[in-house]
C-alpha cells in the first residue's frame, strides 16, 4: 500500500496516523525487547492457562473441549475442599503473622532514642534477608524432626511430653508449616512501616502528646490510622501471597500426611506435573486467580472509600 505524498499538510486522518506511527519507530524499537518477552513468557502462558482450563489438555496435545467439566470437578472434589480449608487457615493466620510482628518491631525501633540506634536495629532486622528462603525452609524442616531442635528444647525445659513428630502428625503439620520462620519480621514490611512512621509529621505526635495520648494509646489512635495505606498493602500482599504459596508443603511434606498440608496451588502443581491432568490443573489455577482478582478489587474499593 503506497501513500500519496501531498505538499499540503495532510488532512486525511489515516495518513496522519501513519505518519505518527512512522515517527514513533525509535520508541517501538526501544520497547521491542521488553514487549516481546512479556508477550511470549507472560501473556501467552496466561492465555494458555485460561483457555486450556476448558479442555482435557495433557501438556502435549491441545485436548478436546470439555466445557465446565474441570470446574465442576474442582468444586465438588473433597480433596479440593480440604485444600481450600487449609488455605483459609493459612491465609488467616498468615495475615496476623504478616502484620503484627513487623508492626511491633517498627514501633519499637521508631521509639528508640537517636537516629544511629534506630539505623543499627533496622539493619539488624534487614540482615536475615541474606538467608536464602529455601535454606530457611530446610533448616526449619530439621528443627521439626523428631530428633530436631524443637523437641530437644522441649525436653531440656521439662516439657518432654509435648514432643512431636511435628510434620508427620496430621494435627500439627499444617500449623508447623504456617508458623515456620519465627520471629516473622519480614524486611520489606518492616521497612515500609518504619518509613511510614517516619513520614508522620512531628506536630501530629506533639498534638497527640498534649491530648494525653502516649505509649500504646498513641499507637492505636495516631499511628495505626496513619499507617493504613502501608498496613493495607502488606495485608493484601500477604493474603495474595499465601493463597498461591505452596513451596513449603511441596518440599517438606508433599501435602501430607494425608492431605493435611495440601493447598489448592499444590493440587494444581501435582495434578499437572505428576498426574498429567493439565486441563484440570488450569481450572484450579483459574479459580484461584478469580479469587485473587476479587480480593484485590475489594481491597481497592475499601481503600478508596476510606480515603
Amino acid at each position: 500500500m503506497t501513500v500519496p505524498v501531498s505538499p499540503r499538510p495532510p488532512t486525511d486522518r489515516s495518513l496522519r496516523r501513519l505518519r505518527r506511527l512512522r515517527s514513533g519507530w525509535p520508541a517501538y524499537l526501544f520497547l521491542l525487547p521488553a514487549l516481546l518477552l512479556v508477550a511470549y513468557f507472560s501473556y501467552f502462558p496466561a492465555y494458555l492457562a485460561v483457555t486450556r482450563a476448558f479442555t482435557d489438555w495433557d501438556g502435549l496435545n491441545v485436548g478436546g473441549f470439555t466445557g465446565l467439566e474441570n470446574f465442576r470437578r474442582a468444586v465438588t472434589d473433597p480433596v479440593m475442599g480440604e485444600a481450600t480449608r487449609n488455605m483459609l487457615v493459612w491465609v488467616a493466620l498468615g495475615l496476623v503473622l504478616a502484620l503484627v510482628p513487623p508492626l511491633l518491631v517498627a514501633e519499637l525501633i521508631f521509639h528508640l532514642r537517636g537516629r544511629r540506634r534506630q539505623y543499627a536495629y533496622r539493619t539488624l532486622f534487614v540482615a536475615p534477608i541474606v538467608i536464602p528462603s529455601l535454606v530457611l525452609l530446610l533448616v526449619w524442616g530439621t528443627f521439626y524432626r523428631s530428633d530436631g531442635l524443637i523437641n530437644t528444647l522441649l525436653s531440656a525445659v521439662g516439657l518432654g511430653g509435648w514432643r512431636h513428630d511435628w510434620l508427620s502428625d496430621p494435627g500439627t503439620a499444617l500449623y508447623s508449616l504456617i508458623f515456620l520462620g519465627f520471629p516473622y519480621v519480614d524486611a520489606f514490611s518492616l521497612l515500609l512501616l518504619y518509613a511510614g512512621l517516619q513520614n508522620i509529621p512531628q506536630d501530629v505526635f506533639e498534638a497527640a502528646r498534649l491530648d494525653g495520648a502516649t505509649g500504646w494509646r498513641r499507637v492505636a489512635r495516631v499511628d495505626l490510622p496513619l499507617l493504613r495505606p502501608q498496613l493495607g498493602l502488606i495485608a493484601l500482599l500477604s493474603v495474595i501471597g499465601n493463597m498461591q504459596y505452596f513451596v513449603s508443603p511441596l518440599v517438606l511434606t508433599s501435602g501430607g500426611p494425608g492431605f493435611a498440608t495440601t493447598v489448592p496451588a499444590l493440587l494444581m502443581y501435582t495434578t499437572a506435573t505428576r498426574s498429567g491432568e493439565y486441563g484440570y490443573a488450569m481450572a484450579v489455577a483459574v479459580l484461584l486467580m478469580v479469587a485473587v482478582a476479587l480480593l484485590t478489587a475489594a481491597s481497592r474499593l475499601m481503600s478508596r472509600r476510606a480515603s
Partner: protein, 293 residues
C-alpha cells in the same frame, strides 16, 4: 508484649529524654532478642556445618569441638556446579531485566508515540497476573523452546517476569530527570540512545541499583520454575539443596547433616557478600518507591 516497653505517662520528663531510661533498655532488649532470633538459623547452620554426625546427634547448639571443615569439601563437591549456575542465571537475568526495562521505561517516560498509554497499561496489568497461573503453561512452553543452553530456558522467562515491576519503578525515576539536562544534551545533537546512556542512566543510577538488588533476591531464591525447566545436570542452588537434603535424609546410614549445613552456608555467601555492600540500595528502594498511598 507488655506495655511497659513504651514511654508511659508516669515517666518523668527528664527520664524520658535520657538515652538510657528503663523503657529504652526494655525496648532495646526486646529488639536485640528478636533480631538475634531472626538470625538464629544462620548461627545454627554455621556451627552445625562444622560437626561430624555424632557431634550433631549429641548436641545441636554447642560449638563444634573439634571442628570438621571437611564437611565443606563434600558440600562443595555436591553444589559447586549448581552454585555456578545460580550465579550465572541471577547475574544475567538481573542485568538483562534492568537493561530491557531501561529501554522500555525511557520510551514510556520520555518519548511520544501512538499507543503509549495502551502499551503501558498492558505492561502494568501484568503485575496483577499471579505467577502460579502461568507457571505450568510456561513450563510446557519452555520445555519445547529451542535454546542453545538450558539455562537460557530459565533466564528468558525470569527476565520477562521482572519487567513490569522494573519498568514501573524506572519510568517514575526517568520522569523526574530534569528537563533542562535533557534539552541541553539534545541541543548538542544527542539522539535517544545517547540521551539514555549518557544522561538518564547516570542520573538515575541509584534507582537502577535498587531495582537490581530488589529483583536479585527472589531470582536467587526461585525454586519452582528452575525445578521444572532445568535438566538434572544443570540445576540451580535451591533445586540442588532440596535434592541434596532428600538424598542425605533418606539414606540408609546416618545422614551427614554437617555437609548439608555446609551447603546451606555456601549458598548464602553470595547474598552475604552482596548485601554487605548494597543493603542501603535495598532499603532505599523499598522505602522510597514502596507505597503510593
Amino acid at each position: 508484649m507488655s506495655a511497659s516497653g513504651l514511654p508511659g505517662r508516669v515517666a518523668p520528663r527528664a527520664a524520658r529524654r535520657s538515652t538510657w531510661s528503663a523503657a529504652e533498655v526494655a525496648r532495646q532488649a526486646t529488639l536485640l532478642l528478636l533480631g538475634l532470633l531472626a538470625l538464629f538459623p544462620m548461627y545454627f547452620t554455621l556451627i552445625n556445618s562444622l560437626k561430624s554426625p555424632t557431634q550433631y546427634a549429641r548436641n545441636l547448639l554447642d560449638l563444634p569441638v573439634p571442628p570438621h571443615p571437611e564437611n565443606y569439601a563434600s558440600a562443595w563437591a555436591q553444589i559447586q556446579g549448581p552454585l555456578v549456575n545460580s550465579v550465572v542465571v541471577t547475574l544475567v537475568s538481573v542485568l538483562a531485566t534492568v537493561l530491557f526495562a531501561a529501554l522500555a521505561a525511557y520510551a514510556f517516560a520520555l518519548m511520544d508515540f501512538p499507543g503509549r498509554h495502551l502499551l503501558f497499561a498492558l505492561t502494568f496489568a501484568l503485575l496483577l497476573v499471579p505467577e502460579f497461573l502461568t507457571l505450568i503453561p510456561l513450563y510446557v512452553q519452555v520445555r519445547s523452546l529451542p535454546v542453545p543452553d538450558p539455562l537460557l530456558a530459565l533466564i528468558l522467562p525470569t527476565v520477562a517476569i521482572g519487567q513490569p515491576f522494573a519498568i514501573l519503578v524506572m519510568r517514575a525515576a526517568f520522569e523526574r530527570v530534569p528537563r533542562e539536562l535533557l534539552e541541553a544534551a539534545r541541543i548538542d545533537g544527542a539522539g535517544h540512545a545517547v540521551l539514555l546512556a549518557r544522561v538518564v542512566l547516570p542520573v538515575t543510577l541509584p534507582v537502577l541499583v535498587s531495582v537490581a538488588v530488589i529483583r536479585l533476591v527472589p531470582v536467587w531464591n526461585e525454586y519452582l520454575l528452575p525445578s521444572l525447566v532445568l535438566p538434572p545436570d544443570r540445576v540451580t542452588l535451591p533445586v540442588a539443596l532440596v535434592t541434596f537434603q532428600g538424598s542425605g535424609a533418606s539414606g540408609a546410614g546416618a545422614p551427614n547433616y554437617g555437609a548439608l549445613m555446609a551447603a546451606y552456608v555456601l549458598s548464602a555467601l553470595p547474598l552475604v557478600a552482596l548485601f554487605a555492600f548494597l543493603m542501603r540500595y535495598y532499603v532505599q528502594g523499598v522505602t522510597s518507591g514502596g507505597v503510593k498511598g
